[in-house]
């Protein structure tokens, strides 16, 4: 593969289920290596996005590529090189973990001997070495999550997609699972996508995030950039037309955007930006109501973007 070619690339894909727009106009590009958090509240369209990427459902609109292959036509080839851990339980309860993982390995085309050896290996790796001969129906929730991870790893995929890998796990189990994910991410040629609505999990393991809400992309970028960028930002509330002010900022080369009823000005590392902002405001004869720094956790970023989205939706609905 070409160095740094994106592993996942979508261009304005949408997926409708009847009247429900599960994914809307999603454009993302995810480079090779590292862990990406796909973040969003319930019903945001995360799972649907994954199904689109795996070629399990066809997009209603738009184009996409995974590992350089078209998601509309190359589903089988994509799934050959991707490991997928579904969000819900999917087990054959009356067989043991080794048989289960081995069976699924064979469904990837692995020989009996390879699948068996690899099943033992991955079950040990996820911490189920002792229980690998137990029937899956006797497993605890946390153990079941581990089996699901094991089956996703059995064929050693290049891209690993994990849908809510920590649901139902106790705090210790969660940390274990996240550490496993971090450990897998150490393999340089592997890319991990982790779906979650638990911000702490994403903050712990991901180096990039894609935030979705109501099927739409809200933000994307490196975690550091997003959080740091926000740390360096300034929040303004003014009396008058905020959009007009944003236009003026942008004309001066200052990036800014509307958030709720406030303006978010991205300052970067430029200390003189505050002065410039003040100058522009004075010029525009805008009255300042609030001037300050936003708090800077991912949660805050998440909540602010989501609530902004919701506000916009409500406004649209009321028109």
């Amino acid at each position: 593969m070409v160095e740094n070619a994106p592993v996942i690339e979508t261009f304005r894909i949408s997926k409708n289920y009847g009247l429900v727009e599960a994914v809307k106009d999603l454009t993302v590009s995810i480079p090779q290596g590292g862990t990406v958090g796909l973040l969003g509240p319930n019903g945001a369209g995360k799972s649907t996005t994954i199904k689109l990427l795996l070629g399990l459902v066809n997009p209603s609109l738009g184009e996409g590529k995974v590992l350089g292959m078209d998601i509309r036509t190359k589903g089988l080839e994509i799934r050959d090189r991707v490991g997928y851990m579904p969000e819900h339980d999917c087990f054959i309860g009356d067989i043991d973990a080794v048989k289960y993982v081995m069976h699924l390995g064979r469904m990837n085309g692995m020989s009996v001997a390879d699948a068996l050896r690899r099943a033992h290996e991955v079950l040990y790796y996820v911490g189920l070495g002792e229980s690998r001969y137990r029937k899956i129906e006797t497993f605890s929730l946390g153990m079941k999550q581990r089996v699901k991870l094991a089956q996703a790893l059995v064929h050693d995929p290049e891209l690993l997609i994990l849908d809510e890998p920590t649901t139902g796990m106790d705090p210790d189990g969660r940390i274990d699972m996240l550490e496993l994910i971090k450990d897998i991410a150490k393999c340089e040629d592997k890319t991990l996508v982790m779906c979650s609505h638990i911000l702490a999990d994403v903050e712990r393991v991901c180096d990039r995030v894609v935030i979705m809400n109501r099927g739409k992309l809200v933000r994307t970028g490196s975690l550091k950039e997003l959080v740091e960028g926000k740390k360096e930002a300034i929040i303004l509330r003014v009396k008058g037309d905020s959009n007009l002010l944003i236009d003026k900022f942008e004309r001066e080369g200052i990036s800014a955007e509307l958030r709720d009823d406030a303006i978010l000005v991205f300052a970067g590392n430029n200390p003189s930006i505050k002065k410039k902002v003040m100058e522009i405001m004075a010029e525009a004869k805008m009255q300042l109501r609030y001037f300050g720094k936003p708090t800077a956790s991912l949660e805050d970023l998440f909540l602010s973007t989501i609530s902004y989205e919701e506000e916009a939706e409500r406004e649209k609905a009321s028109i």
Binding site: L54, C90, H155, D156, D176
Partner: protein, 289 residues
């Protein structure tokens, strides 16, 4: 053992194509079904005639008694009609329903496994399991008969059409019950309902067809009964009258009387084809979740 000490190991190896995956699925389904005690019991029952033929002395058979000797084989094949639906329900009822219940579709289809290959694997598993109590023992009985009797091989070659006919009859039965039970399995939420459904279809079709026949005195309504059609085919093509468990009186045209066995064959093949298409369409359109 701690996780860190082990570390993630990469794997490199050859991956096989679709044919291998279908065979793997067949292999898995056969082993999985075999782990059920009920399946084992039914298969052992089906093999009882094989044991009996080993024990019964057949060396005494004269040339005239050859039909009687084959009757052993053939009466075994006819007894299949009765419990084959039980077996089909037990094996086939859960084939798809369980995967649907366990949400295994997302495990299978998130892999490089085509739906057609999944279906082929399930059908293959069913066919292999169903042939263990039917096609295989029929062959063994036939071979044992040759080995144990003093009759010349020529007689057996001349009579080998019986074995062929029995096999064709089994294939017809397996296809019919397979298509019915797989369809039921793909629509129900619990494998038990598929078994119940299969029996309801077999019994209801017989009941309604017979009532219509009696009420109207028109033989044609008998074609609505699955069991009648099967018996009719058996009588015509194998020369066995199952209701009396005797060799059928060919002059009377089997059990069907006025209803030709060919019509019964058309009905059975028609139902099988229709149900197969329905099952295929159903499976191809099922959601992953």
């Amino acid at each position: 053992m701690s996780i860190e000490s082990l570390g993630y190991k990469e794997w490199e190896g050859q991956k096989h194509g679709r044919f291998y995956k279908v065979l793997s699925l067949v292999d898995y389904e056969v082993r999985h079904a075999w782990s059920s005690i009920w399946v084992k019991i039914l298969i052992i029952i089906a093999w009882l005639p094989v044991l009996i033929i080993f024990l019964v002395p057949v060396t005494e058979i004269s040339e005239e008694g050859v039909d009687r000797a084959f009757y052993n084989l053939v009466s075994f094949t006819t007894s299949i009609t009765i419990w084959l639906p039980i077996m089909a329900g037990l094996i086939g009822g859960g084939l798809i329903a369980n995967d649907k219940n366990n949400k295994m579709f997302s495990m299978y289809f998130s892999r490089p496994l085509r739906r057609e290959d999944y279906i082929a694997g399930k059908v293959g598993g069913f066919a292999v399991l169903m042939s263990i109590p039917t096609i295989v023992p029929a062959l063994i009985i036939y071979i044992v008969l040759i080995g144990k009797s003093d009759l010349s091989l020529l007689v057996f070659i001349k009579k080998s059409w019986l074995l062929g006919a029995a096999w064709l009859y089994f294939i017809l039965l397996i296809a019919l019950f397979g298509s019915l039970v797989l369809f039921l399995s793909s629509v129900v939420t619990d494998s038990k309902y598929a078994v119940v459904g299969l029996f309801t279809i077999v019994i209801l079709s017989d009941l309604i067809a017979n009532l219509l026949w009696l009420a109207s005195d028109n033989e044609i309504y008998r074609l609505g009964s699955l069991t009648f059609n099967l018996e009719n085919i058996l009588a015509e093509f194998l020369g066995i009258d199952q209701s009396t468990l005797q060799l059928a009186d060919q002059q009377n045209g089997g059990v069907g009387g006025l209803v030709s066995a060919w019509k019964s064959l058309v009905v059975i093949v028609g139902i099988t084809s229709f149900m197969s298409v329905l099952t295929l369409l159903r499976l191809l359109s099922l959601e992953e979740e």
